[in-house]
C-alpha cells in the first residue's frame, strides 16, 4: 500500500505523541495453562455449543467497572463452539482450575529474566474481567511474573513495565447484532503479555521496538510460531489526550500507520473540544431533545426495513451543527466515531448505523426528509439532528450513547479500546477497562517462586543478546550484522559453525541473517529451513561442492522447489566440479569473444569477459579466483 502520511502536515512528535506496546506471545508448552488440554490443537470443527451471558460484577475495591456496565448494555447472546479434543470443562467454566502449568511459568520466568525484569516472590493469579464474552468465565486468569525490565533500543532503554503470564482468549467467529460466536480451541493457551512503558515517540519506532522484542522472544526458542501466536496491542496518546488502545494488531508492519492516524484522530478531537467550548457546550450542559419520527422519513437506508416493530427516532443536539462533519482522519468524520459507538453498544446491524443532518454525501437526507425533521423537531440553524432506527430497545440505547459520546467530546478523548478495521482505519471497540476489573482468583493459591529456582533459571539463560553482540564484534562481524546475528534464532547454529573453525564468521552471518532476510523479501519462508538443513549446506560448501556465490543460488532454488537435498540442487542448477583445463578453455573462449569487440577500454573488457565466464561457472569456482584468471588472460602479451 502506498504510504498516505504524513497527512495534513501533522507531526506526531510535535503533538506529544507517546506510544507503548503490549505484546502477547503464546508459549510453546505441551498443555494449556490451567487444565490438561493439549496446547495448539486448532480446528474449526466443533462437537458442542454453549450459550452464556455476561453480567457486570463487583470488583475487589467495591465499585462496578465502567467497561462492565457498558458491555452489559449490549445484551449479547454468546455462543461458544467446543471441540472436545481441544477444550474441556475447565474452558467452559464448569470445572475449577487445576494448578498452574509449571512449564509455562518457567518459560515466563526465563523470558522475564531475558527482558531484565525483577521476578516476583509469589505469583498471584488474578481475574481480569472480560465482559465481551471472549472468555466463558467472564474473566481471564493472569499473573505478574516480572516487573521493571528493559530492553536496549538504539541508544536508549525501553522500559518493560511488566510481564504477565495468562491464558489466551477465544477466537471470534462472528459478531452480528445481539449474537456473538466464539470458538474455544485457542482459549486457555498459555501466553505472556509484555508491556512496555510509553517510551516510543515516533510511529516507526513502535514497529521497530515490536520487532526487537519479537526477535528476542523467538530467539529463546520456547515460544509458539505461526498465525495468531503473537498479537500486539498498541497504546497511543498525545499531549492533552488520553490513552487509547488499539487491540489485536496481527502484524507489526501495520502499526506505524495505525498509530499515526490514531494520534491524528486525537489531535482533531482536541480541536473539536475547543470548537464545542467556543459554542459554550460543556459536558454537563449539552442540550438534547428526542422525537419519534417513525414512518415519516423516506430515506432508503430506513425504508429498506419494512419491519413493523422498528421505530425511528430523532435526537436533536443543540448548537452542534457542523460538528459531526469535523474530520478526524483521511476518510473519517466525528460522525463515524459516534456511529462506531452506537453500532457496538446498541447492537444495530444496519449500515449506515445513524443518519444526520451534517451529511452532505450521497447518503444525505432528501429535501422532503429535511422538512419532515424540521417540522418534527423545530430545529434551528445551529442545531444538529441525528436519526436512529431499529428495534425500540436498541434505538433508546443508541440515542443514549450518542448523547454520552457527545458529552465526552466536550471533555476530550474517551478512554477506549479501538479495533483495526479491514479498511486500515480504527473504530470503537469498547471503553478502556481500568484496574477496577482485577480481583484475586480465589480458586488458585499463591505460588511461591523460590529465589534459588530463579537463580537456577538465570544460570541456564541463553547468552544475553548484548553480551553476544559484543562477542560477535570481537569475532570480526561487521556492524550491520552483529546485532541481527545476536538476536537471531540462528545464533546457536552460528556459534556451532564458527566454533568448529571451519566456517568464516562473516560468511556464516551473511548466510544466516542477510540471505534469510533476502529470502523473506522474495516471499520465501526462512523458518522452513531447519538448522540441520543449513548445517548440511555449510558442510557441503566446506567440502568444496560449491563456492560462496553458490549459497544464494542454492537457497533460492531450495525455497522454490521445497527440496533440501543440496546434492541434487547443486546438480540441478549446474554447479559442478570443474577441471582446471575446462576453466582455462572457458576463459580463453571468453577472452577471444571480447577481443572481437571494439573499441573497449580495459575495464569494460574485463567486465564483459567476467560476465561470460560467471554465466558458466557461477557457484562452481570462486569468483575471486576467476577474476584473477580472467585478468591474467586479458593481459596484453
Amino acid at each position: 500500500m502506498k504510504r498516505d502520511y504524513p497527512y495534513n502536515n501533522f507531526n506526531p512528535r510535535d503533538a506529544g505523541f507517546r506510544c507503548g506496546l503490549e505484546i502477547h506471545q503464546q508459549l510453546d508448552t505441551e498443555k494449556k495453562l490451567f487444565c490438561h488440554c493439549p496446547a495448539g490443537v486448532y480446528s474449526d470443527e466443533y462437537n458442542a455449543q454453549l450459550l452464556r451471558h455476561m453480567r457486570p460484577t463487583l470488583s475487589e475495591l467495591g465499585e462496578y467497572d465502567g467497561t462492565a456496565l457498558m458491555e452489559f448494555k449490549t445484551r449479547k447472546d454468546i455462543i461458544y463452539r467446543i471441540n472436545k479434543d481441544s477444550a474441556c470443562t475447565y474452558e467452559t467454566d464448569d470445572t475449577p482450575p487445576f494448578p498452574i502449568n509449571k512449564q509455562a511459568v518457567d518459560i515466563a520466568i526465563e523470558i522475564a529474566l531475558l527482558l531484565n525484569c525483577s521476578i516476583v516472590g509469589e505469583l498471584h493469579v488474578i481475574r481480569k474481567q472480560y465482559l465481551d464474552g471472549s472468555i466463558p468465565a467472564g474473566f481471564q486468569r493472569t499473573a505478574i511474573v516480572g516487573v521493571n525490565g528493559w530492553i536496549p533500543f538504539k541508544n536508549r532503554k525501553i522500559e518493560i513495565f511488566q510481564l504477565a503470564i495468562e491464558e489466551d482468549a477465544c477466537r471470534e467467529v462472528s459478531d452480528v447484532g445481539h449474537l456473538r460466536t466464539y470458538t474455544t480451541d485457542r482459549l486457555a493457551m498459555p501466553l505472556i503479555e509484555v508491556v512496555t512503558a510509553p517510551h516510543i515517540y515516533e510511529p516507526e519506532e513502535a514497529y521497530e521496538v515490536g520487532m526487537q522484542i519479537g526477535r528476542l522472544l523467538r530467539a529463546m526458542g520456547k515460544v509458539r510460531r505461526g498465525i495468531g501466536s503473537v498479537r500486539q496491542d498498541v497504546n497511543v496518546s498525545i499531549e492533552g489526550g488520553t490513552r487509547v488502545e488499539i487491540k489485536g494488531v496481527p502484524r507489526l508492519p501495520l502499526i506505524p500507520r495505525l498509530v499515526y492516524f490514531e494520534a491524528y484522530r486525537q489531535h482533531r478531537l482536541l480541536q473539536l473540544r475547543e470548537m464545542m467550548h467556543e459554542r459554550g457546550i460543556e459536558e454537563d450542559n449539552l442540550q438534547t431533545e428526542r422525537f419519534d419520527i417513525t414512518g415519516r422519513l423516506e430515506h432508503p437506508a430506513i425504508t429498506v426495513f419494512p419491519d413493523e416493530s422498528f421505530i425511528v427516532s430523532v435526537l436533536l443536539l443543540k448548537k452542534m451543527a457542523g460538528l459531526f462533519a469535523h474530520k478526524i482522519g483521511p476518510d473519517r468524520r466525528f460522525a463515524d466515531d459516534v456511529a462506531g459507538r452506537v453500532r457496538v453498544i446498541a447492537c444495530l446491524i444496519h449500515r449506515p448505523v445513524i443518519l444526520h443532518t451534517d451529511d452532505t454525501s450521497s447518503s444525505a437526507f432528501s429535501h422532503r426528509d429535511m422538512n419532515e425533521i424540521l417540522s418534527v423537531t423545530g430545529m434551528k440553524k445551529d442545531d444538529l439532528a441525528v436519526v436512529v432506527w431499529g428495534p425500540p430497545d436498541d434505538v433508546v440505547t443508541g440515542l443514549n450513547e450518542i448523547e454520552i459520546r457527545c458529552r465526552e467530546a466536550a471533555v476530550g478523548i474517551p478512554n477506549e479500546t479501538r479495533q483495526r478495521m479491514t479498511t486500515g482505519e480504527t473504530d470503537f471497540e469498547r471503553i478502556l477497562p481500568g484496574p477496577d476489573r482485577m480481583y484475586p482468583d480465589t480458586d488458585s493459591p499463591p505460588l511461591v517462586i523460590p529465589r534459588d529456582h530463579v537463580a537456577e533459571i538465570r544460570k541456564k539463560l541463553p547468552e544475553q543478546p548484548l553480551d553476544r553482540e559484543k562477542r560477535y564484534k570481537k569475532q570480526g562481524l561487521p556492524d550491520h550484522l552483529t546485532w541481527m546475528m545476536a538476536i537471531s534464532p540462528r545464533a546457536v547454529l552460528f556459534d556451532r559453525l564458527v566454533s568448529e573453525g571451519k566456517i568464516e564468521p562473516v560468511l556464516a552471518a551473511t548466510v544466516l541473517v542477510e540471505l534469510m532476510i533476502h529470502l523473506f523479501r522474495l516471499g520465501g519462508e526462512p523458518e522452513t529451513f531447519g538448522d540441520d538443513d543449513l548445517e548440511n549446506l555449510f558442510t557441503q560448501h566446506r567440502q568444496g561442492s560449491f563456492t560462496r556465490e553458490g549459497f544464494r543460488m542454492l537457497i533460492e532454488e531450495s525455497a522454490q522447489t521445497g527440496s533440501r537435498n543440496w546434492t541434487e540442487l547443486t546438480a540441478k542448477i549446474g554447479i559442478r566440479r570443474v577441471k582446471p583445463d575446462e576453466v582455462k578453455s572457458i576463459i580463453t573462449d571468453a577472452a577471444s569473444t571480447v577481443a572481437g569487440v571494439n573499441p573497449m577500454d580495459e575495464a569494460q573488457k574485463f567486465r564483459m569477459a567476467m560476465g561470460l565466464v560467471m554465466e558458466k561457472l557461477r557457484g562452481s569456482v570462486p569468483g575471486t579466483e576467476l577474476a584473477q584468471m580472467v585478468k591474467e588472460t586479458l593481459k596484453p602479451d
Binding site: L51, M54, L58, E60, I79, S118, G121, E122, V448
Partner: protein, 461 residues
C-alpha cells in the same frame, strides 16, 4: 504502632510490616534487592505462609514479595477497600406479589473476603437490588437472613428454624418463599423442608449458585430471577429446588425437594431429578410444566409444620469387605436409625448379618436404599436379600439414600415404635417414593454415540 490491623500477616512478614511501621491498605513503595515496587499492601490469607507481603500494583495486579528481599518500605497514605455492593432501596409495587427471600448462607449473592481469600455472602434487598435489579420487575422483595453458614455446616436445627421462618412469612402474607442455600447440601435441606412443611399454600423454592456472583459468568442472578419468578407466580405449592437445567444460560429446572440430588462437583447443571422428571422448567418469566401431579397453590391451604427431628441417625455407604464393627460402633454410640446404601438391589455382605441383627434387636431402625441411586430396592430376588430382611432390615423402595436419612430422622422424631416407624417410612409424604418409574426417569446419556454427538452439536447443553 498504629491501631489498624495487619490482617492475615504473621511471623516474619508481620515483623517486616511492623519494622517499617506500615499497615494493610497502606499505599507504599517497597525497595527490594530485586528492584522497586509500588502499590497497596493487601491483607493476606491466614493459611498462606509468613514469607511474603502481598502488594496490589496500580495496574490492578497482585504480587507477593519475599520478605527477605525487602530493604525499605515507604508509606504515602492508605486506601482501604470498602466492600460494598451498591445499595438501592428495593421498590414497592402494590400489584406485585410479595416474595420473601430467606438466607441460610452459600453463594447466591456474595463478595470476596481477603483474609480467607474466600467468597463471603452478601444479603439485603438493597444489595440484591443493586446486583440483580430485574428482581424488582417480578415482585416486592423482603429478605431475612436466617443464617450465614456454609452448606456443609447445616444442621437439623437450621432445617426446623427455616421451616418455622417459612410459616412465619407465609402467615404474614408472603405469596412465595425463596430460600438461598449453599448447593452442596441443598438437597438434604430440600428433603427436610419437604417433610417438615407438611402443607403449604404457596411455592417454596430453594436456590443457590455453582459460580459465585462475583464473576460475570455466574449462574446466581439467573437462578435467583427464575426462583423468584417461580415463588411469585407458579402454581406449584411444594418445596422445590430451582437451578440451571443445562450449563448454558438458558433455563432453570424445578426439582421436587425429595427427588433431587447434586450430581456434579462443579457444573452449573449439577442438580438432577433422580428416577423421575423435574416438575417444570422456568425461563424468561415462563413456567413450562413437565409433570401434572403436583400440589397446587391455594390460599386456603393452611401452612402446617411438623419440625420434629431425632438426629441419632446415620447413612452407611456399603463397600465390599465392610467390617461389622462399622454397624456395631453406630449402635454402641447410641444411634437409633441407620440408612444403608446397599449394592445393586439392596445388599450387604454376610459378615455384617450378626451386627445388623444385633442392631435391629436392640431397637435400631435400619432401612435399605441403593447406592446405584436409580431404581428400587428389591430384596426378594436373591436369597441374600431375603436373609437381610429377616434380620429386620426394611427395604426403602426408591427413596434416595440422603432423603431416606432425613426422613428417618424426621420419623424417629415422632415415634420409635418398630411398626409405626416402618409404616411411616414407606408412606410417601412428599413424593419421596414413587409408585412407578416412568421410562424417562433414568436418562444418563453417554457421549460418543452419534445421536448424542448430534444433540450436543445442536442444543446448547
Amino acid at each position: 504502632m498504629s491501631k489498624k490491623s495487619n490482617s492475615g500477616y504473621k511471623g516474619a512478614a508481620l515483623s517486616v510490616l511492623k519494622n517499617f511501621d506500615v499497615n494493610v491498605w497502606g499505599d507504599v513503595r517497597i525497595t527490594t534487592s530485586d528492584g522497586e515496587f509500588s502499590g497497596i499492601i493487601l491483607p493476606r490469607s491466614e493459611i498462606a505462609d509468613d514469607r511474603h507481603v502481598v502488594l496490589k500494583l496500580t495496574t490492578g495486579y497482585n504480587i507477593g514479595l519475599e520478605v527477605g528481599t525487602i530493604e525499605e518500605i515507604e508509606e504515602h497514605g492508605s486506601k482501604e477497600a470498602h466492600y460494598k455492593i451498591p445499595e438501592k432501596e428495593f421498590p414497592f409495587d402494590p400489584v406485585k406479589p410479595n416474595v420473601v427471600l430467606l438466607g441460610t448462607g452459600g453463594t447466591i449473592a456474595s463478595r470476596l473476603d481477603y483474609r480467607s481469600g474466600a467468597v463471603i455472602p452478601a444479603f439485603s434487598p438493597g444489595e440484591l437490588y443493586g446486583a440483580v435489579p430485574e428482581l424488582a420487575d417480578i415482585c416486592n422483595l423482603k429478605t431475612d437472613k436466617l443464617y450465614g453458614v456454609f452448606s456443609e455446616n447445616i444442621t437439623p436445627e437450621h432445617w426446623s428454624g427455616t421451616a418455622e421462618a417459612i410459616k412465619r412469612e407465609v402467615d404474614n402474607g408472603a405469596d412465595g418463599i425463596v430460600i438461598g442455600h449453599g448447593t452442596d447440601t441443598m438437597h438434604y435441606t430440600a428433603a427436610a423442608l419437604s417433610f417438615m412443611v407438611k402443607s403449604t399454600p404457596v411455592p417454596i423454592v430453594m436456590v443457590g449458585s455453582q459460580r459465585s456472583s462475583d464473576r460475570p459468568s455466574s449462574d446466581a442472578a439467573l437462578n435467583l430471577i427464575n426462583a423468584t419468578w417461580t415463588a411469585a407466580y407458579s402454581d406449584i405449592a411444594e418445596v422445590m429446588v430451582c437451578m440451571f437445567g443445562p450449563t448454558s444460560d438458558e433455563y432453570a429446572l424445578l426439582h421436587r425437594g425429595t427427588r433431587v440430588r447434586k450430581m456434579h462437583s462443579s457444573y452449573r447443571s449439577t442438580f438432577r431429578t433422580i428416577g423421575d422428571t423435574p416438575i417444570a422448567r422456568v425461563s424468561g418469566g415462563e413456567i413450562n410444566l413437565i409433570k401434572k401431579d403436583y400440589r397446587r397453590r391455594n390460599p386456603e391451604t393452611p401452612l402446617e409444620l411438623d419440625t420434629v427431628f431425632d438426629d441419632r441417625v446415620s447413612i452407611v455407604y456399603y463397600y465390599p469387605n465392610m467390617q461389622p464393627d462399622i454397624i456395631d460402633s453406630l449402635v454402641d454410640n447410641g444411634y437409633k436409625g441407620i440408612v444403608i446404601a446397599g449394592t445393586g438391589l439392596g445388599h450387604v455382605n454376610k459378615p455384617l448379618y450378626p451386627s445388623l441383627k444385633r442392631a435391629c434387636d436392640s431397637g435400631v431402625h435400619i432401612f435399605m436404599t441403593v447406592e446405584t441411586l436409580w431404581g428400587y430396592v428389591q430384596m426378594y430376588v436373591y436369597d441374600t436379600g431375603r436373609d437381610i430382611m429377616e434380620l429386620g432390615v426394611v427395604p426403602g423402595a426408591n427413596m434416595l439414600p440422603e432423603v431416606a436419612y432425613v426422613k428417618l430422622g424426621w420419623v424417629l422424631g415422632h415415634t420409635h415404635d418398630r411398626e409405626k416407624v416402618a409404616e411411616m417410612m414407606l408412606t410417601p409424604y412428599a413424593g419421596e417414593i414413587t409408585e412407578r418409574e416412568t421410562i424417562d426417569g433414568y436418562l444418563i446419556m453417554q457421549g460418543g454415540l452419534p445421536e448424542m454427538e448430534k444433540f450436543l452439536k445442536n442444543i446448547h447443553f
